[in-house]
Amino acid sequence: MPETKTKKPIITVWRVILGVIFLAGAYATYLRFVVGWSAATNLSDAQPWGMWVGVATLCGVGLSAGGFATAAAVYLLGMERYRPIARAAVLVAFLGYVSVCVGYAYELGLPWLFWHALIYWNPKSVLFDVMFCILAYTTVLTIEVSPAIVERLPFNGFKKTYMHWHHRLATAVVLAGVLLSSMHQSYLGGLFLIFRDKMYPLWYTPALTTMFYLSAIPAGLAMVIITLYLCNRSLGTKVDPKILKEVAWVISPMLILYFVWRMVDLVKHGGGPYLFKPTSEAAYFWLEMALFVFLPVFMLNNRWVMNRPEGVYWSSAVVIAGFITNRVNVSINALERATQANYIPKWPEMAVTVMLVTCAILAFRYAVIYLDILPKKAKSTRKWLANAGVAANA
């Protein structure tokens, strides 16, 4: 997370860390594309999907859910209070999806043939739908964030025409985005439906699509909160902490709804007896519940915690940790018993993932510094809205 204050010294701790991340990432990239899979990953015939699918794709897409949720709230449901954070939320989603696309370059065996997905359709394949949603929604997100860049261009004529058309199409674009990403979040769960006989009963349910959707929204909102909190702290933006707190309030009921639904569904589909077996799966399951539901629900309903911005921040962080645990459980831990793979990611897998996340954070940081993404002064919030938010999007 970019917590650097713009200080004088050229060599700061953060810059050193960044350097290490990029060096490691570059070397891991070399291993993956020049030396080969075996050098770069611990994937095997028993465990063909690992960290890149489990964390980079599943979590990347999930944590981007704040974008469509906020966009729907502001642009479609008219919750004007949240307009100051809508642009930032959409930008988080955009960068999330771009990272996922880049992640695919590592993840696919033959990434230079990715366009096959566009010409050889297999509508029976859930992965085909996932790919299609990723491509379509990334396009939509690009359109949604474009005004922030276009308004900085020096060509006035072009700017005017662009904004005019963007304004006219904005609602349709937002609507398409909300639907696409809703579909997409559920399809990601749908990917795992065909693994029925290999997945541990604590995670397999025909309702995986609903579960993925229901868990993505609170996690995506938590991601927005974290991002904005950090921007306020280190980039001098002035997002009203009250707004962040309000967003945080919505999370807790969503988590409870998810939990109840998940438990009813689990018992209905025969997962009940597995809950308290002394297995590693049960331990993973309760860890997931602790981080995604119990701890955050407690924190989010605790006055002492919620009355300070760090409290809001840390509750969101726990939600995200729980969410990541869930996606890793579904994509890796739930399958290990059946496949008998003892998968632990190799360091280049982690290095690539960390590098992708770092790139997204840096891109976000510079976007906030150089573009009109977030209000920078409290007093002029209204003027900022008039100039940026409202002008750019109906």
Binding site: W37, R83, L108, L110, N122, S125, F128, D197, K198
Partner: protein
């Protein structure tokens, strides 16, 4: 119902573990080397010793292959003759087929920089499409693996079960996951030999299709609802805006913050 669908009948009680099929398979696919204990990118069929029983493992050529419905680009298809074949020129290397297969059959060329998926192709191109038996069936010295029309193979299997009480009265592959082109006979229960016993006979593609079919509905209903909601909020905003303009206020937003 006479179809010209082919199948292999593998009688586990007859297999002597000589590895002739595994060797013939390697030869037919232009790979050299000794028979291997596990499926790999160079061993598309193997003979495994399961407590004294010799069990062949390879692709079962499902009637409704999970791998085929999973494949992003439709590179895996079921041919009319029975074999499930792979078109490597389409593959993008997503490896979804590998996890989707309930029998964990497909392998991957992990050591290559342009890796492809590998699995038994039932000698489709070189033999079965020309009416010849597979290399493994031809090589088997004791007739533990035989090749023929699927209907005929099923009849033969039933005949054996009726004639000899040592067999468990079950033809694995007749109905599992919707049926397959590899049929097995055994004198011990199949689950003891490591066969995947599905909870229902429904083919896996149907399981995930059920969920997919809902999605367009979600979009339709969700889209209409959202558009409706938007229309309402938009009306409200227009009214607000009109009132605000009367008061020469440009935007009806942000007022609250200013007052506080």
């Amino acid at each position: 119902m006479a179809t010209n669908k082919k199948a292999l009948l593998i009688d586990i009680t007859k297999c002597i573990g000589c590895q002739a099929c595994a060797g013939a398979c390697k030869e037919a696919h232009g790979v050299t080397g000794d028979p291997e204990p596990k499926l790999s990118e160079t061993a598309l069929t193997v003979v495994q010793d399961k407590n004294g029983k010799f069990v062949r493992k390879q692709c079962l050529h499902c009637e409704q292959p999970a791998c085929g419905s999973a494949c992003l680009v439709g590179a895996i298809t079921k041919t009319a003759a029975g074999p499930v074949v792979y078109d490597k020129s389409k593959c993008v290397g997503c490896r979804y087929c590998m996890i989707a297969c309930p029998h964990s059959v497909p392998r991957y060329e992990w050591s290559k920089l342009a890796p492809y998926m590998k699995k038994c192709d039932m000698c489709y191109d070189k033999r079965v499409s020309k009416g010849q038996p597979t290399a493994c069936a031809e090589a088997c010295p004791v007739g533990a693996t035989i090749f023929g029309d699927r209907d005929e193979m099923l009849r033969e299997a039933r005949r054996r079960i009726l004639d000899d009480p040592k067999y468990v009265p079950h033809i694995y592959g007749e109905r599992e996951y919707g049926g397959a082109s590899m049929l097995f006979l055994s004198d011990v229960e199949f689950e003891k030999l490591g066969f995947m016993i599905p909870p229902t006979e429904a083919p896996l593609p149907e399981v995930s299709k059920a969920a997919l079919d809902e999605a367009p509905m979600v979009v339709l209903v969700g889209g209409t609802m959202l558009a409706g909601l938007y229309w309402i909020t938009n009306r409200r905003r227009e009214v607000l805006l009109a009132e605000a303009q009367k008061k020469t206020l440009k935007f009806p937003v942000g007022d609250e913050e200013e007052r506080s």
